[in-house]
Amino acid sequence: MNRVIVIGAGGAGLVAALSAHENGAKVTVITKEYPTRSQTSMAQGGINAVLSDEGGDSVEAHIQNTLKSANGLADEKAVNFMCKEAPNVLKWLDGIGVPFSRTKESQIAQRKLGGAAAPRACYAQDYTGLKILHTLYDRCLEAGIEILNERYLLEFITSQDNNDKSYVCGVSVLNKRSGEVEVYEASSVIAATGGYSRVYHNYSTNSVSTTGDGVALAYRAGARLSDMEFIQFHPTALKNSSILISESARGAGGYLLNSKGERFVNELLPRDEVARAIDDEIAKGYDVFLDIRHLGTEFIENELPQEAKLAKLYENIDPSVELIPIKPAAHYTMGGIEVDEESSSSISGLFAVGECANHRVHGANRLGGNSLLELVVFGKQAGKSAARYADSFDKKVDLSEQKKSFEDKIAKIKEFSSEINFYEKQRELGELFYKNFGIKREKTAMGTLLNEVKEMKTALSKMGVSDKTKEYNTNLIEFLEFKNVLELSELILISAISREESRGAHFRVDFPSLDNEKFQAHTIIDRDGALSYED
């Protein structure tokens, strides 16, 4: 058997699936939604690649910008690899039919995003992620890759080899439609399950599905996690809904203004710096606005159509004549499942890619336009590694007992009393995180928050589901997601409390400077919760 199972059908999952398929594996993609509904569809700004040295850009500059933004916490080798691969990635995406915007010279159009020395982000209007994702999906159909929809991951199933080393041998999922537990054997598994920004609940730009399931479950299966405290806040989310307004608006010359109508920061600094500057203005009691009026109606219609639509729909304003009210919101999680140079986690046969994984290319702060790039570069790598591993997988696997055991677990959860409404707690947690653990962090507040999280965890058995139906029970799925969110919340806080310095997206009011001597290292969490630092 050389079956590779990919969990997640966003950009990373689909690239990994295509790559594993090309490398001879029998691939099954499993998603809790449908492919094309993932977080990738929301990526607007672009995908970074240096396509020519005209205009003074270079791969070296891309590398340096990425490293600078990462604040000393990226792996130089990994960043080198990613940036050098970028032109090939764009060639491939162009070759499979991604409808990128083009210049008058028939080149792929590029724009400047924050922290970049030159216009480097290739885009398709402000639908870059959407158009890449859909084209990848079409490729998967062409390749005949099996995709199983609406199945929620319950566990990465592991076993021990003769040397007591864990290896993955399958997954169990809850078929949302039938309510049945299903167990799938696999020679290797690729986690492409997305980030965990929904810890911030309504204060995140992300899809409601970005609940970090894969990260929490990989941890439960024994995988090491790293850099969990590094969570990027996007400077410009709509004030009321936290819906993202792309960085391309600032890249094109948009201003940030406070209530007095004054600019207060260079809008094109990396996201962590801009977000902090906005936070400062809000702390002074000002409202903050994005101003793109001067870009003109035609430009907005052509280059930022989605932005204009979202501003109208959710703030009821016309950005060509009015200011857009904004706030920073949790946007991207740099940390995740710790992987090596082959995209393998610390569990044999379990690979990870995309936002759920930490390939150490974003460090303490991701550069805009690098996440779409990362998912293609490392998606290809993860697919290849997983196929190769699957090919040499020779262990006998018997999962016949597994189904019953998961059914029992689900049945037990359904017996939890519902005296506390977990939705209320989820909202409360998001608010607490945003207010006490947002852009600025401090020891006492984090300690209090950690206690709250622990209390919520203890009270989970009183927060059960009121809906006991078997078929399509979203109440149950959302409870399981909340359980994962709570588990990750604790790990995020432990990591953040321990890092007594400020670096990139992790800003400590009580330790405002960088401490390279102690902390120029990755935070590692082992399965027993033990925290350590590694270069």
Binding site: P99, S101, S106, L130, K131, S207, V208, L310, Y472
Partner: protein, 233 residues
């Protein structure tokens, strides 16, 4: 404000907040009133295609529609209802594969101009929300009809310079495809992305004609009478 939601029976819910999107209202109901309500959502911003439903008989994205007093919310048409507002989209999605809505091969160094890009810019905005299949009267009658979004997707590739085998794409959409559409335009009216599958189907018909295909409906009515193609009266 009150809205009615079609579940096993129509259930009326009272909402306190005004000026909400339907998705916000559904979230309010789910988290504070009735946790058993089933619906799908994702991005909240109109790009993931998860939350299409019908309001007062018309397809909308719940995240992009502001509710009004007395609205009746129902699941999409022409798809099996799994529960409440959730329908099974597998069949509609399967037409993308049947229609071979992909680029035939991977190409190298085909230059596209700004004008080339504009040929399928709107078509490639499709989010596969399924509103068009819900509104399509042909699909309602003929469950084998390839349907609006998959045909739009075929046009997206056929209109692209990088597609090297346009004829094969066109050959594949002759049966239960372009000629079955009645050009009623219902799909266009409900598309949240401003795509007109009807117009794309017309373009595919024109392209089909270039490859020698003729409208079978037309052929069987007053045109192909004689064996030599001469009209009979």
């Amino acid at each position: 404000m009150k809205i009615d939601i079609e579940r096993e029976r129509v259930v009326c819910y009272e909402l306190k907040t005004k000026n909400q999107t339907l998705l916000e209202a559904l979230n309010d109901i789910k988290t504070t009133q009735d946790a058993s309500l089933a619906y799908s959502s994702g991005c909240r911003s109109g790009v993931c295609g998860s939350c299409a439903v019908r309001v007062n008989g018309r397809e909308v994205l719940a995240c992009s529609y502001h509710i009004q007093d007395g609205d009746l919310v129902e699941p999409l048409n022409n798809a099996p209802v799994i529960r409440d507002l959730v329908v099974d989209m597998d069949r509609a999605y399967s037409f993308n594969a049947k229609a071979k809505a992909w680029q035939s091969g991977i190409v190298d160094d085909v230059l596209l101009s700004h004008e080339d890009e504009k040929l399928n810019e709107v078509q490639s905005d499709c989010i596969l929300c399924g509103s068009c299949y819900s509104a399509c009267p042909v699909y309602a009658q003929n469950s084998e009809f390839l349907g609006p979004f998959s045909l739009t997707r075929v046009w997206r590739y056929v209109s692209d310079k990088r597609e090297q085998n346009k004829k094969e794409k066109i050959d594949n959409i002759q049966t239960n495809g372009v000629w079955d559409c009645t050009l009623c335009n219902a799909c266009t009216l409900v598309c949240p992305q401003g795509i007109s599958s009807k117009a794309d189907i017309e373009k595919l018909r024109a392209r089909s004609a270039m490859f020698g295909y003729i409208d079978p409906n037309f052929a069987s009515f007053g045109f192909g009478g004689g064996f030599d193609g001469s009209p009979t009266f």
